[in-house]
Amino acid sequence: MADIVLDKVSKKFPDGTIAVRDVDLEIADGEFVILVGPSGCGKSTTLNMIAGLEDISSGELRIGGERVNDKAPRDRDIAMVFQSYALYPNMTVRENMAFPLRLAKLDQATIEQKVEEAAKVLELTPLLDRKPANLSGGQRQRVAMGRAIVRKPKAFLMDEPLSNLDAKLRVQMRTVVSRLQKRLGTTTVYVTHDQTEAMTLGDRVVIMRGGAVQQVGPPQELYDHPHNLFVAGFIGSPSMNFLPATLEEGRLRTALGDVPIGDRIRRELSRADAPRELILGIRPEHFEDAELVDEETRRRGIVFEAPVDIVESMGSDKYVYLTVEGERATAAELKELAADAGAADFTGVGSHLVTRLSAESTVTEGENRRVWFNLEKIHLFNPADGRNLTLREGRAAGALAD
């Protein structure tokens, strides 16, 4: 077991592609860290550099305090689980799991015992003498895990280990992974594409974009206090709503009405280089049916009226899609996020707001509804560089803070 430190680590491929740039990351001993980001952002490359499967172009990688830049994978004592499972098809499950131990030249009795032990943890005992070809996807996945845990390495690296499983199995395996990591207490770096895995599995989440780290923190913190537009849009499902806002006479003019701003934001926006056009971000759960908001709460936000497009009742609450007039917010980050999400939800004229209202709301499709939203929870972003302007010392304080 060991900590892993990336110190200004970069990767430049021979063809000139810079896949990872100046990544600083300290992973504590026993910590479970998730790398997440859109396709091609350099997650796998980062993981492969930690593994030793890719050379590090510049910067330093330390495992357990020791510089390992030039060490071969086998000298780093790290195990890896691949998206493709990468089981050896010519060996049985038992031989697959024994392979790292045999290479480490352990004696037969110890190998037997360790394999049995790992097989028991992963409920693979009845399958030990099967070949990988005769296993289901979930079983193969567990064998791959088993092969990683048998030799008690310093760290686990996992590259989208669950992405080949169907949805139900993925949920099940997620808890297996989580329990296994807690039980073994081994430092783990886990790459994923999946929102839910990122939010639920890790102690901390690293969000990457174009080879650079955007923000590192516990999942809830990334959700509540995103440092920039990209993080705000990436974390959360359904994702944050973004609207263009224009600064006029000390107020923000938006499609939802005029938004008052507090002293602090005003000060920030009165600086010479401050933008006049901003992007307003609101999470779906910070809306509420205006009828259900008491006077006290109502004062902390504003109310607007909009036509209701679709109502999806989830039982515990209702997802309500509202149509709002006007331009939609544009920024490089939003385009990228749209591309990664498959773009479908970002097309069409006018924009849609996704809101999550209480189940008691009597909202119906087609009507015009009065909806309230919380000003203390909104974020304001600079479209030019994506920075979150409502952030103070890393905490988002809404638009009204002074």
């Binding site: 030793g52 691949f82 990468a86 050896y88 790292p100 290479l103 996807g137 092969r147």
Partner: protein, 277 residues
């Protein structure tokens, strides 16, 4: 539905039977001839009236044929072994590495395979005489390797490309050196390819007549296909047909053994279950 499938089966079965009969009749005919006595040789009967092993006894009595058989087996085995080892290394590099001039190398290999061998016979003859390789084993092994290598590289690199990259990475993560990863993970998976290639190369060497007749002159290195053409019979007036047929039957035996021996190892789909998607 069931009707059409039985009809389809019948049709396919018939077609297969035609192909098999078409291919086998000459072979069976030669076998039949090899068991006939000289007197009944030309009677035109498919089943010999009088069975005899005389033809076989005769060819094994002549030093000529036994020497040629030894030459053939030795030369073909050595050439196959070298071509497969070199081909394996080259194919692995082609499948795995991106080095400058890779496409050129593959192109040139293909070019060699397509080069008409007849046009090379005279220059080779001159060169080998100058170098003292004429009428020696290496004199045949070298050109065999030259022409078998492109074939070996082609078949083998196709097999190596099928072995998932991730397996090698996984082996490295599990603590294997490059060599161990190759020997214990990649090579077993590419084995069907290696055996297939070995069979193809062996058959190519075994059947060659052109080089063998041009680059040999004595029993020292003459191979069976050539020796057959020199068969005359006991005396000038004896018909060698029976002996030639017996020899022809004998020389197919090593190939059949070779194929049967390796065929068990050519199990397709050996890599299934390694990776998903």
């Amino acid at each position: 539905m069931a009707d059409t499938t039985t009809r389809a089966k019948l049709q396919w079965g018939l077609l297969n039977a035609v192909v098999v009969v078409f291919a086998l009749i000459p072979v069976l005919w030669i076998m039949s001839l090899s068991f006939k006595t000289p007197a009944t040789l030309t009677d035109g009967k498919f089943i010999p009236r009088e069975w005899t092993l005389e033809n076989y006894r005769n060819i094994f009595d002549t030093d000529q044929f036994v020497r040629a058989l030894v030459n053939s087996i030795g030369i073909a085995l050595i050439a196959t072994a070298i071509a497969v080892v070199l081909g394996t290394m080259a194919a692995y590099a082609i499948a795995r590495l991106d080095f400058p001039g890779k496409r050129l190398l593959v192109g040139v290999a293909l070019l060699i395979a397509m080069f008409p061998q007849v046009s090379l016979v005279s220059p080779l003859f001159e060169i080998e005489r100058q170098l003292g390789l004429f009428d020696t084993w290496p004199g045949l092994i070298l050109p065999y390797i030259t022409f078998a290598l492109p074939l070996a590289i082609y078949t083998l690199s196709a097999f190596f490309k099928q072995v998932p990259w991730d397996l090698e990475k996984a082996a490295k993560m599990d603590g294997a050196t490059q060599g161990q990863a190759f020997r214990r993970v990649i090579a077993p998976l590419a084995a069907p390819g290696v055996f297939t290639t070995a069979i193809l190369v062996f058959i190519f060497c075994w059947n060659d007549f052109l080089f063998a007749i041009s680059l040999t002159s004595t029993e020292r290195s003459r191979t069976v296909p050539v020796a057959l053409s020199f068969f005359t019979g006991e005396s000038q007036f004896e018909d060698p047909t029976g002996a030639i047929c017996a020899a022809a039957v004998v020389i197919t035996v090593p190939i059949i053994l070779f194929v049967l021996f390796f065929q068990r190892r050519i199990v397709s789909g050996l890599t299934s279950g390694a990776v998903k998607g």
